[in-house]
C-alpha cells in the first residue's frame, strides 16, 4: 500500500485510462441472483476483477438474545476478504478495515430494508470477497442488495453503488485498484435509484467544492447504470426471459 508509481500514466492525452477505459466508463459488471442453496437469498457479482459472493439469512431469531430489539429487526453485515483474495496472503481474522466496511455497508442498506416489519428478528448478510481489485465495498453493497431482494426481505428500493474519483485532475467513474493507489481522490457512492437518495458517501482525498459536486453527480449516474444490471439479474432469475 502507498507505494506510488510516478511513472504510470493514469490518463493519456486521448482521455483513455490505464486499463483502456474512457473517463465515464465502468468496468465489466456481471451480477447473478441466487446460486446458494442453503441461504435464504444470495448473489454473485463480478465487478471488473472483483469477485464477490453474498449470502443472506433471515428474518430469523436473534442470537445472542440480548441483541434483539423489541421495536424493530436488526441488520447484521459481515464483510470478509478471503486470504487468497489479494496478492499477499491476507490474515483471515477480521481486520480494522473489514470491520469498518461491514459497518458502512450495514448503514448503507438500512434505509432500504424495512426492518420495522420484523421486530425481534435479525437479517444476516454475509459478504465474501473471493478476489479484490479496488472498489470492493461498492461491489459488495450492490450484490448485498440483490441478495436481500432474492431473500424476499421487504425493501423500499434497491441500493446500487459505484465509486467515482479524481485522477490526473479529471473526475472519473469506477476507480480501479491502480487509480485508487495513485489517484488524487476516491469517492464511493451508494444510491437508491427510485427514491433518488444517497445512502453511502465517503471521500478519501482532496476535492474542491466544484469537483466534489461533479464527483457526486458522476457517481450517481454510475449507480443508475449498475441498477439496470441489478434489475436484469433479478428479472432473469424470477421472470426468465419473459420479464419486461
Amino acid at each position: 500500500m502507498g507505494g506510488r508509481d510516478a511513472t504510470m500514466v493514469l490518463l493519456d492525452e486521448n482521455g483513455i485510462r490505464c486499463d483502456g477505459r474512457k473517463v465515464d466508463e465502468t468496468r465489466r459488471i456481471m451480477i447473478k441472483a441466487g446460486g446458494l442453496k442453503n441461504a435464504d437469498g444470495s448473489a454473485y457479482i463480478e465487478f471488473g476483477d472483483n469477485k464477490i459472493l453474498v449470502g443472506v439469512f433471515g428474518p430469523r431469531d436473534v442470537h445472542p438474545k440480548h441483541m434483539s430489539d423489541t421495536d424493530t429487526g436488526i441488520l447484521r453485515v459481515r464483510y470478509h476478504m478471503e486470504p487468497f483474495s489479494v496478492g499477499e496472503r491476507k490474515r483471515p481474522a477480521p481486520s480494522r478495515r473489514e470491520i469498518e466496511i461491514s459497518k458502512v455497508i450495514k448503514e448503507a442498506l438500512e434505509p432500504a430494508v424495512m426492518l420495522e416489519k420484523f421486530p425481534r428478528t435479525a437479517v444476516d448478510v454475509f459478504i465474501e470477497v473471493l478476489q479484490a481489485d479496488g472498489g470492493t465495498r461498492c461491489a459488495a453493497l450492490t450484490a448485498a442488495s440483490v441478495a436481500l431482494a432474492d431473500a424476499g426481505i421487504p425493501m423500499r428500493d434497491m441500493v446500487a453503488a459505484v465509486a467515482s474519483g479524481k485522477v490526473a485532475d479529471t473526475i472519473i467513474l469506477d476507480v480501479n485498484n491502480e487509480e485508487d493507489q495513485a489517484g488524487q481522490a476516491d469517492m464511493p457512492v451508494g444510491y437508491m435509484p427510485s427514491l433518488e437518495k444517497i445512502t453511502l458517501l465517503q471521500i478519501d482525498g482532496v476535492l474542491t467544492p466544484e469537483e466534489y459536486k461533479k464527483c457526486v453527480q458522476v457517481g450517481v449516474d454510475g449507480c443508475k447504470q449498475v441498477y439496470e444490471l441489478q434489475k436484469k439479474a433479478l428479472k432473469d432469475k424470477y421472470f426468465g426471459n419473459g420479464g419486461d
Partner: protein, 227 residues
C-alpha cells in the same frame, strides 16, 4: 385486469394515484412502490404485489401446519416455519378449567406432533397466538408432510381452489395446506399419496410457468392411464 399485471422488483413504481396500498407495497409520497419481487396487481381501489420469494409472515386467520417444539406447564410452542414461534396456550386444548397442577400437557400433544392451527392473534409486540379449537383443527394423526415455499401456496391452491381440487379429485387424497408452506397429504392408497406428493412438488418447482395447470393435469392423467 390482465393488462394491469406487471413483473416488479423492490423499488419499482407500481402506479401513482389514490389507491390503497395492500400487500408488499408502500406509499412514498404520490408513488406506490413495490417492496418485493413479484407480480403487481391493480384493482379498482387497491394495489398489491404477489411475492415470488420470502419467508412466511403470520397473518391473523391463516391456517397453518405447526410442529410442536416444546411445552411448558402452561403452553406449547409450535414451529410454524416462520421467524416467530407459534404460541398455543393450554386453555385452548383443556378448556377454561385448565389447571397447571392437574393437567399434564404431554398427554395431549407431544413434541414432534403435527398440528393444524389457526393464527388467532398476531401483532408486532408478541409471538403469534394460535388456536386449535375449531372445526378441522387440531393434531394431525396421519399423512405425509410436504414442505414447499410459502410464496408458492397461492399457486398450489389455484384460482378459487381449482388446482388443489384437481389434485384431490385425481388422486383421492386429502390435502391440508398451511399458509406457511407446510402441506399434509393423506390418502388411502399409496399410489394416490405418491402421485399427489409429486404433483405438489412439481407446482413448487414450476410455480412461475404459465400453463402449469395443464402440465399438472397431464402428469396426473398420464399416470391414470398407466395404472
Amino acid at each position: 385486469m390482465d393488462n394491469k399485471r406487471k413483473y416488479v422488483i423492490p423499488g419499482d413504481v407500481v402506479t401513482t394515484g389514490p389507491f390503497r396500498p395492500e400487500q408488499n407495497v408502500t406509499l412514498e409520497g404520490e408513488k406506490i412502490i413495490s417492496t418485493a419481487i413479484g407480480i403487481s396487481e391493480i384493482y379498482e381501489d387497491s394495489v398489491r404485489v404477489i411475492p415470488l420469494t420470502g419467508k412466511y409472515i403470520p397473518k391473523i386467520n391463516d391456517l397453518v401446519i405447526g410442529k410442536v417444539i416444546s411445552h411448558t406447564s402452561l403452553s406449547w410452542e409450535l414451529d410454524i416455519n416462520s421467524c416467530y414461534v407459534g404460541f398455543l396456550p393450554a386453555q385452548d386444548v383443556f378448556g377454561r378449567d385448565f389447571s397447571a397442577h392437574a393437567d399434564e400437557l404431554a398427554t395431549k400433544l407431544k413434541s414432534g406432533d403435527l398440528v393444524a392451527a389457526r393464527i388467532a392473534n398476531f401483532d408486532r409486540t408478541r409471538d403469534p397466538l394460535v388456536t386449535i379449537s375449531d372445526r378441522d383443527l387440531g393434531a394431525i394423526d396421519s399423512g405425509d408432510l410436504v414442505k414447499i415455499s410459502p410464496s408458492k401456496v397461492p399457486r398450489l391452491i389455484g384460482k378459487r381452489g381449482s388446482m388443489i381440487q384437481m389434485i384431490e379429485m385425481a388422486t383421492n387424497a386429502a390435502v391440508t395446506i398451511g399458509q406457511n408452506g407446510w402441506v399434509v397429504v393423506s390418502c388411502e392408497t399409496p399410489e394416490g399419496l405418491l402421485k399427489a406428493k409429486k404433483a405438489i412438488e412439481m407446482i413448487n418447482e414450476k410455480a412461475h410457468v404459465a400453463n402449469l395447470t395443464d402440465q399438472v393435469k397431464e402428469m396426473l392423467e398420464i399416470k391414470d392411464d398407466e395404472t
